[in-house]
Symmetry: C2
Subunit: 473 residues, 2 copies
């Protein structure tokens, strides 16, 4: 087999959105970089996560919004065209063809190697291509591991043998199963329950704990559970799935001692690091573990190694991977130039928002949009704080948006510094309300100043005024 | 006729949302207050402006959004039920009955007098009730004039005699005229053209200048004009309306020498101060003029008199009237207590956002949402600045939101302080994107910090990242 050697300033393992952004930043900074990818350039988000899942949901949301407006509702007399929705989903994933992403990589002046990558000691990566040829890559300055994460499969007897759907199959399925069983009530389980229920499946959702979306403010999981049930999803909280088997075309789960039958089962119970087969043992790290990094995304103890995105376990969200990529890329460039790099809060090299201001949106009906600390997190961190809450439906803009609008806004305020620690919105179409909260948290804008940030009337954003009034008391 | 005398700490002329808020703030501050109102408590916004106009538009918007999503579009097979939309509009205006507002005033511990109010020298207001009885009100601390504005009628020959629609009639009409002529291409003319066109009227819009929405960034007016035309509205720019007359049931306008016929004509060419008949001459001011106030909303030269909301001509928007009311109310309370009042920027007594961060949303299709300075205003003020722009449709969240999404984001950046001076969004459903910009402008959040304000993927808010990249270059 042929073998080659190549040297780059920066070698990036994994060409998902995180890896692409690390490479882009360092190339803009004057360094050379190569991406190594064994599957699709563009990564999980483009093909199996954010884009297809939101595409599956958007039509359902748009119709629900139109039906909620008296006068407009009369025009929504037909049904969603499921085939057309799936076709639209496929258009976003480019039918799982990555040529447009490859074109972007080439245009950005970034190298690309197809194949599996393994670290082989300091600054060295061995790539085995699809034809078995190997390339030995040497990194002058840094190796950035951006291999991401994969779906975890819980230790349920027989589960691996029933070929369960992971989020990949749930977002790429070509038709709605008649009966879909969903194990896991986090954001993936909730979003996919809404999506496939609306596209024709009879959905049963099993959540081991007593609440959906357990990381969010409790109002979020309660509202989503109530809405799932209103939409016809069978939501079972406190459900213990202990075994799985196939019976002909059916999948059979043992749940709390009884049996539940379906046609497919989606398992969405979290992620695990993709570090099992990338040679981290050759540099003294434990395969399968998340990479332990500092705020500049540098692996502790290995100054040439960076762990960026899902693979470090800090914040497993596309936008946070890209954010970390910008910060890590800036740190790599600065260190290559011999410039000082600061890991201090809000420095251009530090991923401070990972701790203080991570936004996330759950695209359910209602949506859940949150940033910063929840009240539980503020309590755990021992921060002096007060929680204020107000129903969004009481705002003129919300009542115009939809008849009977129901939602909640929750703000966690630092009582010492009088700044926002976190904000959660639960309600229809709240996704775009979130960035105002993110700017306020990141900017540490004092509450006294926020009174001057007037929401335009009559928008849903007027909820900000209600939150300030609730804070004032 | 009977006559009475009453004394309050604060006398408020006009019980629109501005007057209500002044009274509410001073009563919360421990002062007594009375509102004087000759028409409906709640004011223009509730009955004739924001609420009904947005209610007329919302159904059209919701249907357009559903039709823009392949798969969902198939379900929108019917037509908007115009009668149901008008009925929904009426529900927001409570059929022009103000009893719920009156209940709020009473519950807030605010006095209410029905009748016309005239200043009669310092701290004195004479109210003539519907039965002709007069009440002489004395204000211990302040008189706040919140009488607002009314539609201006341009000097067009014969126009007053054809009984043109003002914005009041345009928002409260019980049916769509067959042919509606609209004079004026500001936000009222544009919104009402969209609304009535969608509800069945054949609309012709005349704008004297060469662009709609002339106060906004030029991209806004261009996009709205193009969309109005796509929707079937006859938009005539550079049109000079010189005469009007009735011919039977028809209204006939002379435009650029030719005649145009319609069934109704809406005149929306601006506002004028409601100061003609309120006795400002008894305190040395000119009737019909806007009240000249400082940043605490105090009339210059008359320390006991405040002009709040539309009547001062600073910012004629409901939310800014309410904002001014909070600032003026705080100033009145502080001065009554002998406390220091500061008119400095961003003080709790100053309406600084009037100059620096006034948000506004035009609820057209596409919407236009803007805050702070436009590029033209930054140029006029001689501020060092750079303008960056990016198409919103290129953002993943926008392409998910609607097939073929078209929009533009424009940021005006202060190149010396590296903060945002103003932002404009043009595009479908951009109204809720605006508050993030308002917080950034008001909070004077440095661009370097804004890089840490990560937009959630895939939302339309990701446009923020594109703007930062455009700024970085």
């Amino acid at each position: 087999m042929s073998s080659a050697e190549q040297t780059y300033d920066v070698v990036v393992l994994g060409a998902g959105s995180t890896g692409e952004n690390v490479a882009d930043v360092v190339v803009r900074g004057g360094l050379s970089a190569v991406l190594v990818e064994e599957h699709l350039v563009g990564g999980e988000c483009s093909y199996y996560a954010c884009m297809p899942s939101k595409a599956l949901l958007r039509g359902t949301e748009a119709l629900e919004e139109a039906r909620a407006v008296q006068g407009a509702a009369a025009a929504v007399t037909g049904e969603q065209d499921v085939a057309a929705t799936l076709e639209r989903r496929d258009s976003f994933t480019h039918d799982w063809d990555d040529s447009s992403q490859v074109g972007w990589v080439e245009g950005a002046g970034i190298g690309l190697l197809r194949g599996t990558a393994r670290l082989d000691g300091e600054r060295t990566v061995v790539v085995t291509g699809p034809d078995g040829a190997t390339t030995r890559l040497t990194a002058r300055h840094a190796v950035a591991v951006c291999t991401g994460s994969e779906a975890a499969v819980p230790p349920v007897d027989g589960l691996p043998d029933v070929q369960p759907w992971t989020p990949r199959e749930a977002t790429s399925a070509k038709e709605a199963p008649r009966r879909l069983l969903v194990v896991g009530g986090g954001y993936v389980g909730c979003e996919m329950s809404f999506a496939w229920n609306a596209l024709g499946s009879q959905v049963t959702l099993f959540q081991r704990g007593d609440r959906l979306l357990p990381a969010a403010e409790p109002q979020a999981g309660d509202a989503v559970a109530a809405s799932l049930r209103d939409h016809g999803v069978d939501v079972r909280l406190g459900a213990h799935v202990s075994a799985a088997r196939r019976d002909g075309d059916e999948v059979v789960l043992t749940v709390d001692g009884g049996e539940v039958r379906g046609d497919e089962v989606l398992v969405a119970v979290g992620r695990r690091a993709r570090t099992t087969a990338i040679g981290v043992d050759t540099v003294g790290l434990e395969p399968g573990e998340y990479l332990d990094v500092d705020d500049t995304l540098q692996v502790r103890g290995l100054s040439w190694l960076y762990g960026v995105g899902d693979v470090n376990g800090r914040r497993q969200l596309t936008h946070m991977g890209k954010y970390q990529a910008r910060q890590a890329g800036a740190a790599i460039v600065a260190r290559a130039r011999g410039e000082e790099v600061s890991g201090a809060d809000w420095s251009p090299h530090a991923a401070t928002a990972d701790h203080a201001a991570t936004p996330s949106v759950v695209f359910t009906l209602p949506q859940v949009a949150s940033v910063g600390l929840t009240s539980a997190q503020a309590r755990e961190r021992g921060l002096p704080h007060r929680v204020v809450e107000h129903p969004i439906g009481s705002v003129a803009g919300a009542s115009l948006f939809a008849d009977g609008y129901e939602g909640t806004a929750i703000a966690v305020v630092d009582t010492r510094r009088e700044v926002l620690l976190g904000v959660t919105f639960v309600g229809p179409a709240v996704a775009e309300l979130l960035h105002a909260a993110t700017v306020a948290v990141v900017g540490e804008v004092p509450i006294a100043r926020l009174w001057h940030a007037v929401p335009a009337y009559p928008t849903v954003s007027e909820i900000w005024l209600r939150l300030l009034e609730a804070w004032r008391g």
